[in-house]
């Protein structure tokens, strides 16, 4: 029997999509699949289907006729490779005259399969800081790590290397790796000198990724740096924003203590990624290898959330617990991060709900679409529509929060206390910062993290005596409290 093509599936939209959503889905698909850009076999045919689907669905009359020809509406198809779960800190909202908080844990994971899916090919660029501060041993270790990374590349991977100081140069242009000896020599030839101008490196690196940008690959840039950039921060953030929109990820690895972790978290989070702290240059290679293995386990390259909170509802805080713990930036859409085939994506949201938001019935405090970009799969998936909603009662429900939320929050609280201490330090509130660190130390002790508690106490004393926190302690505490969040991650068997 001849089945008419499912135009909604082809465009990756829901049956009740608005004209605007259909138009946007079409433009997205066109950008990815345009015959001028994609030479992979089969993609031109897919593009023609998309074209046809758009012609029908964008015309209200034709769409109506087409809709009438469809079988009865089906719910999410069982073949959908990804599903999600939502849990709330409370079963009920309460009718109150004051604002109230509610926590939501969103979990997106792969449907179980018998065998791991084939590892997606990578399109990856290493962007290496070669400023003067990287000189000597540090530079040698960085180069050795980059060469080792190159050796990990499989024949189907596209690889490039960019180095930068106050200007950037392409060391290895994006290509499949044929003559590895020559490429290794090119990496060895990188010399350290000059200042750190991040924008130069990022722009040059993204251009290399862009040359092979496509839905067949996991498209990713890894920035390795040890220094501060000055004056071009906003330009970097704009670049990252654009990269996120175009489906490129940016991960940052900061070496040593002198880099600006808060800024680079912002850069990475605009693509749903984060920064890592490499205290000792000897560990660069280990971190890069880890990243490589993570990227080859990617099932969905990125999940974004497009949403409109209800009036009187504020999203206070959003944090990704795994696969890689890190803060999220509040753009529209919000870039949540990747789903690995064996590791869920878990995001914890904190909402503040004003009394004005609560009416007579239940409250849907967020309505949005989870958009899924699958790795190595050219046809888009329809978005998943999600609702955060709760019944409203006059008296609170005594049920304690689900243990997953309680556990996650108890650790996230530690991370936020560290953020708080840093903010207080930044505002010159030395006493407050000292107290926050001492409180943090007590909680760390109580959860059995003796070593970290000691580091924190040491910094609290540092602040009292020198009125400043050591750069080393600051980063150690931040990334160690972050790592606590990741340890609890449960993997799909």
């Amino acid at each position: 029997m001849l089945r008419s093509p499912d135009y909604y599936a082809i465009l990756g939209v829901l049956r009740d999509a608005s004209q605007e959503e259909i138009r946007r889905a079409y433009l997205d698909a066109a950008r990815r699949l345009h015959p001028d850009k994609n030479k992979a076999p089969g993609e031109t045919e897919i593009f023609l289907e998309v074209q046809q689907a758009y012609e029908v669905l964008s015309n209200p009359k034709q769409r109506k006729t087409y809709d009438a020809s469809l079988p009865a509406k089906r719910e999410e198809q069982p073949s959908y490779p990804i599903f999600h779960q939502i849990s709330f800190s409370r079963a009920l909202l309460v009718r109150l005259k004051e604002p109230q908080l509610i926590y939501v844990l969103l979990d997106v994971r792969a449907r179980k399969t018998d065998a791991p899916p084939p590892a997606p090919p990578l399109n990856i660029c290493l962007v290496l800081d070669r400023s003067t501060s990287m000189k000597d041993a540090k530079m040698d270790l960085l180069k050795a790590a980059a060469i080792q990374f190159l050796r990990e590349m499989r024949p189907e991977d596209v690889f490039s290397v960019v180095s930068f100081s106050d200007r950037a140069e392409v060391v290895i242009p994006a290509s499949y790796q044929k003559d590895r000896h020559k490429l290794e020599a090119q990496i060895r030839d990188i010399q350290a000198s000059g200042a750190t101008e991040l924008f130069q490196g990022l722009e040059c690196g993204l251009n290399e990724v862009r040359r092979s940008l496509g839905s067949r690959y996991v498209n990713h840039l890894i920035l390795l740096t040890d220094g501060h950039t000055y004056g071009d921060e906003q330009a970097c953030l704009d670049l990252a924003q654009q990269a996120g929109e175009q489906g490129m990820g940016i991960s940052v690895m900061g070496i040593g203590t002198d880099w600006n972790d808060i800024f680079l978290d912002q850069v990475a989070s605009r693509t749903g990624n984060t920064s890592r702290y490499i205290a000792r240059p000897q560990d660069i290679q280990k971190f890069l290898t880890e990243k490589f293995h993570e990227l080859t386990r990617v099932l969905a390259e990125e999940i974004t959330l497009e949403f409109a909170p209800s009036p009187g509802v504020e999203l206070n805080y959003a944090f990704r617990l795994q696969p890689e713990a890190g803060p999220l930036s509040f753009g529209a859409p919000m870039h949540l991060g990747p789903v690995l085939w064996d590791t869920h994506l878990s995001v914890l949201f904190e909402f503040l709900i004003q009394p004005s938001a609560i009416g007579a019935g239940g409250l849907c405090f967020l309505e949005g679409d989870l958009k899924i970009t699958m790795a190595a799969r050219p046809a888009p998936l329809p978005p998943i529509r999600i609702h955060f909603e709760r019944e409203v009662a006059d008296t609170p429900d005594p049920t304690p929060p689900p243990s997953a939320i309680l556990q996650a929050l108890s650790r996230l609280t530690l991370y936020r206390m560290q953020e708080k201490a840093r903010a207080e330090m930044g505002a010159g509130e030395v006493e407050k910062a000292t107290l926050s660190l001492k409180n943090l130390a007590v909680h760390l002790l109580s959860q059995g993290h003796q070593e970290l508690a000691k580091t924190v106490m040491l910094e609290a004393e540092n602040i009292q005596h020198k009125r400043s926190i050591s750069l080393e302690g600051e980063k150690e505490i931040k990334y160690a409290t972050r790592a606590l969040l990741m340890n609890q991650g449960d993997r799909v068997e």
Partner: protein, 167 residues
């Protein structure tokens, strides 16, 4: 509004951890029981006879804790630092020395009450911001300030009395 019992910070309804000090909120049934310690402690130090250091466990322990109410002796071995408190179900807090089998809850011991450590020959106690306080020979300690202990000192975690025996 939920007022944090630890630091008095006012958190919005629905908060689970205090935004100021990080303590867990809103768990009325699992919070440390609040008790009056002033009367109970007055006569503590006079009534307790000094014990000799118990022979049987003296080989590798640097000290031991004599639980006065129940008579048990807990050796301090293997590590130089112990957090004292009680494990409470559903809580992520894990003190090194769990006193919950010895009626610690009824005596007002916090989940994380005090830190006992050895520094060379010296033995040091520090209250960790407990609800009912830590006392040495009837004198209350300031939270987060270290206090040197001598052999035979009587330490009270709330009403929970321990004689510290130092080798």
């Amino acid at each position: 509004m939920i007022t944090c019992l630890n630091c008095r910070h006012k958190n919005p309804a629905g908060a689970i951890f205090c935004a100021e000090c990080g303590a867990q909120l809103n768990a009325a049934e699992i919070i440390t029981q609040s008790i009056r310690t002033d009367k109970a402690l007055e006569s503590v130090s006079q009534n307790v006879r000094k014990l000799d250091f118990p022979k049987a466990i003296s080989d590798n322990a640097w000290g031991s804790l004599h639980l006065i109410d129940t008579g048990q002796i807990l050796p301090l071995v293997e590590r130089n630092e112990f957090t004292l408190g009680r494990i409470s179900e559903g809580q992520p807090i894990m003190p090194d020395l769990d006193l919950s089998p010895y009626q610690a809850y009824a005596s007002g011991v916090s989940r994380l009450h005090a830190l006992l450590k050895r520094d060379g020959k010296r033995v040091i106690l520090m209250d960790l911001g407990s609800s009912n306080g830590t006392y040495v020979n009837g004198k209350r300690l300031t939270a987060n300030v270290e206090r040197l202990l001598s052999h035979g000192d009587v330490v009270s975690l709330g009403k929970f009395k321990i004689q510290v025996l130092i080798k």
